[in-house]
């Protein structure tokens, strides 16, 4: 009896061992000489009566696609499927993965489970995907908005191509690729590949950096208002901004006072920052402008509660000569306001015309401090009536509990 039982146990153990050892074979994917790429679909759409019959800009991105004998796509080296319009906020870490149960991807790599960038010169590139460097063919194909993967779609649904082009990526360089509308009247589309330089610049970690782009389509701000998104949350950006705008910044002391009349940091009320020009063709990186992380004298070197308000004025106007009412949202594209505070969802209670984005600063538990405020590198992009914020963070010390 006993011997039988022991035999039984030993044989079961043997089987388990075999099963377990059989499972340990792992093929690690590796890309030699990668470039780091992040893709945004800036072509926006809304579901309204007026846009009912428009094509929905919902894409599948194919990098180095393989074609079958009949010239149709059968696969690709890299597939970024379900590429939806981008989110207003592109967070420094791909937090979409844990926060959504939809297949739609607000950016690439976004929710895709792919190899991502390393910590490069202190910057966390986990929102950038590794892509083979060199000349790569990029195709953006329209796809229906459903949950069927691109290559399982019916044949007739796979042939609508928006963009088919070749881009050149250098090894170990960081790129953002923007899918854009270039002409609002002619409805031309195109891409803009920008080689980022933030990881090469000697940026201080006690300054907050931001640069601005206006990637609006040609003729957007001049166009008839009924052709634009009728979304009240866009506020003064709804009708677009003019091709050349000056940016002024105010730093407010506290995110608890939700008013544009609240106290500002000394020296940072309507401070001129930079000029932004509409550009959908050249890939030059806009210069970064900065403000000190500890600008407020209420800050203690660990935590600060400041928030940012950006005024975009047409040349000739400034916060002092501003002829509009604070609550005017139809300013003839001469003035637009952006409030960056909290999570970008909380409106000011004062009567004003700003659209909302999250605070540029990152607050996380790091070391013994919870939260600890960190400086970041940011990009603010105006595309037609909308504004987008991309925040890049550094690597932080892990939390100590």
């Amino acid at each position: 009896m006993k011997r039988q039982r022991i035999l039984h146990c030993v044989s079961m153990l043997g089987i388990f061992l075999i099963l377990f050892t059989g499972c340990t074979k792992i093929d690690y994917t590796q890309i030699d000489e990668p470039a780091y790429l992040r893709v945004f679909n800036n072509i926006n759409y809304v579901q309204t009566m007026g846009s009912k019959d428009d094509k929905v800009p919902y894409f599948c991105m194919l990098i180095n696609p393989k074609t079958g004998a009949d010239g149709k796509f059968t696969g690709a080296e890299i597939v970024g499927d379900f590429l939806d319009k981008r989110d207003p906020y592109a967070p420094p870490y791909p937090s979409h993965i844990g926060n959504s149960n939809s297949l739609s991807n607000p950016e690439y790599p976004g929710k895709e489970n792919v190899l991502v960038g390393p910590i490069l010169n202190g910057f966390d590139l986990s929102s950038w995907a590794q892509i083979p460097s060199g000349e790569v063919r990029v195709v953006f194909a329209y796809r229906p908005k459903n949950t069927v993967p691109f290559f399982e779609l019916e044949e007739r649904l796979k042939n609508d191509i928006l963009i088919d082009t070749v881009i050149n990526l250098q090894s170990k360089e960081v790129y953002t690729l923007h899918l854009l509308q270039k002409d609002f009247v002619k409805k031309d589309h195109g891409i803009l590949l920008r080689q980022e330089n933030f990881y090469k610049l000697p940026l201080s970690d006690s300054l907050v950096y931001v640069n601005f782009y206006n990637m609006s389509a040609k003729g957007f701000w001049e166009a008839d208002a009924n052709l634009k998104d009728d979304d009240y949350k866009l506020a003064s950006f709804k009708y677009g901004i003019k091709d050349e705008m000056n940016v002024f910044m105010s730093l407010y002391e506290s995110q608890e006072e939700l008013s544009h009349y609240a106290a500002t940091v000394k020296g940072y009320r309507g401070k001129f920052m930079t000029t932004v020009k509409r550009n959908t063709s050249t890939n030059a990186v806009s210069p970064y402008v900065s403000f000190p992380l500890w600008a407020s004298n209420k800050a203690n070197g660990i935590r600060t509660d400041i928030w940012q308000r950006f005024d975009f004025f047409t040349p000739g106007m400034n916060p002092v000569t501003n002829p509009f009412y604070d609550s005017d949202s139809n300013t003839g594209s001469n003035w637009a306001v952006l409030n960056c505070l909290l999570n970008g969802k909380v409106r000011l209670t004062s009567n004003e015309n700003g659209t909302l984005l999250p605070n540029l600063l990152v607050n996380v538990h790091s070391g013994k401090d919870n939260p600890h405020t960190f400086a970041t590198v940011n990009t603010i992009e105006v595309v037609n009536g909308r504004v987008y914020l991309t925040t890049i963070q550094r690597k932080y010390a892990p939390p100590i509990y």
């Binding site: 309204t48 009566m49 019959d53």
Partner: protein, 374 residues
């Protein structure tokens, strides 16, 4: 001592055995007592009938049944399937002037067959299979062409779905009726596909739009209606235009140079749009806004369009309000409401046509002004 111990153990063992036996018996007897003589295995419900039989036995669908029998599709619909049958109820047929089965005899059998086949999908399509908040989701029909399904499910911020379902403009008033070979939805309206016919061909067939057609021709708007579009045309009847002072005799004498054609006749055309009247209702659910506002092609006049089931009749009706420009204090040139559901949603190959019994613009409202007058 040892022996007594042994005895005790044996005694206890036998006691345990007895208990064991007892419990086994108990379980068996409990199970036995559960035995239910009338218990039958769950067999498929025999009352669920195939599509044609179900329709035949339903008093609400007598006319659709008659149409099926006339076109000889009964046997097919009782076949294996699967089918989704979209059945307009008898009221829906009454609306278009069909009251008894013999009325179908007046119709061409082949075109009737095509229309009935358009109401049948060669698949099982439950409400849950249609993506929520989808508009113009297309499904192939038995006829071969596609129909447009729109489902207004969730209002912004709502947690409970509204699930207003429409097929090519007809509302599903009863959804998900299970059949043995498919599923059935009851419609409140007949879908009116015109198949290969484009809007131009459709309009030119109809005598009641004669003046409208003549006007379109006179002002150079006619040829485009044979093109790809899509267009949504609100076709005014001859009487409607007459009330606005537009008649054949007026058109014969009128000088096209004198009038803004895009207002006088262009006001009845929505360009690049493919609207069923029910679309407004769907968008009323999807983003709480079912209206569509646009400038006419003269870039001055401003149209506000919406449709809804509104008080006091709760009939689906559409409303068009034409303004002299887009300012809030502009002059309202026309404000019309139309609610004859049976004469809406003629689905042509390049758009949708709706009947209109009131005119929008009278000729004197569309006179071209000199530059300095504007």
């Amino acid at each position: 001592m040892n022996r007594t111990n042994n005895c005790e153990i044996k005694y206890k063992m036998s006691q345990m055995k007895c208990l064991g036996c007892f419990f086994v018996c108990l379980f068996i007897s409990i199970l036995q007592s559960c035995k239910h003589d009338n218990l039958t295995m769950p067999v498929p419900n025999e009352n669920i009938r195939p599509a044609a039989d179900f329709i035949h036995n339903n008093y609400e669908m007598r006319l659709f049944d008659a149409a099926l029998q006339k076109t000889g599709m009964t046997a097919e619909l009782n076949g294996e399937g699967p089918f989704t049958v979209l059945v307009p109820n008898d009221l829906a047929f009454n609306e278009i002037g069909i009251f008894r089965p013999t009325d179908f005899d007046k119709m061409n059998k082949d075109s009737l067959r095509r229309i009935i086949a358009y109401h049948i999908l060669p698949r099982r399509l439950y409400l849950r299979d249609i993506p929520s908040n989808s508009v113009d989701f297309r499904y192939a029909t038995r006829e071969g062409s596609e129909l447009y399904a729109s489902l207004g499910s969730l209002m912004p911020g709502a947690t409970a779905p509204t699930n207003a379902l429409f097929f090519s403009g007809a509302k599903a008033i009863r959804k998900d009726v299970v059949l043995s070979n498919g599923v059935l939805h009851v419609l409140n309206k007949l879908m009116k596909p015109q198949f290969e016919k484009n809007i131009q061909e459709w309009l030119s067939d109809k005598k009641e739009y004669m003046v409208f057609v003549a006007g379109l021709k006179k002002f150079g708007l006619w040829d485009q209606l044979a093109k790809k579009g899509p267009f949504t045309v609100f076709a005014p009847t001859n009487e409607a235009l007459e009330k606005r002072g537009v008649t054949m005799s007026f058109l014969e004498g009128a000088n096209p140079e004198q009038y803004i054609g895009e207002v006088l006749f262009g006001a009845y055309i929505m360009y690049d749009k493919h609207f069923f009247i029910s679309d407004s209702q769907v968008f009323n659910i999807i983003n709480s806004n079912g209206s569509y506002k646009y400038h006419l092609k003269d870039k001055v006049h401003y149209m506000e369009y919406f449709a809804d089931e509104a008080y006091p009749t709760w009939k689906l009706s559409y409303n068009m309000r034409l303004r002299s420009n887009d300012m809030f204090n502009s002059i309202i040139l026309a404000d019309i409401t139309y609610s004859v559901a049976a004469r809406m949603d003629y689905l042509c190959s390049n758009g949708v046509v709706h009947d209109l019994d009131k005119g929008l613009v009278s000729p004197d409202q569309a006179i071209k002004k000199e530059e300095n007058e504007k």
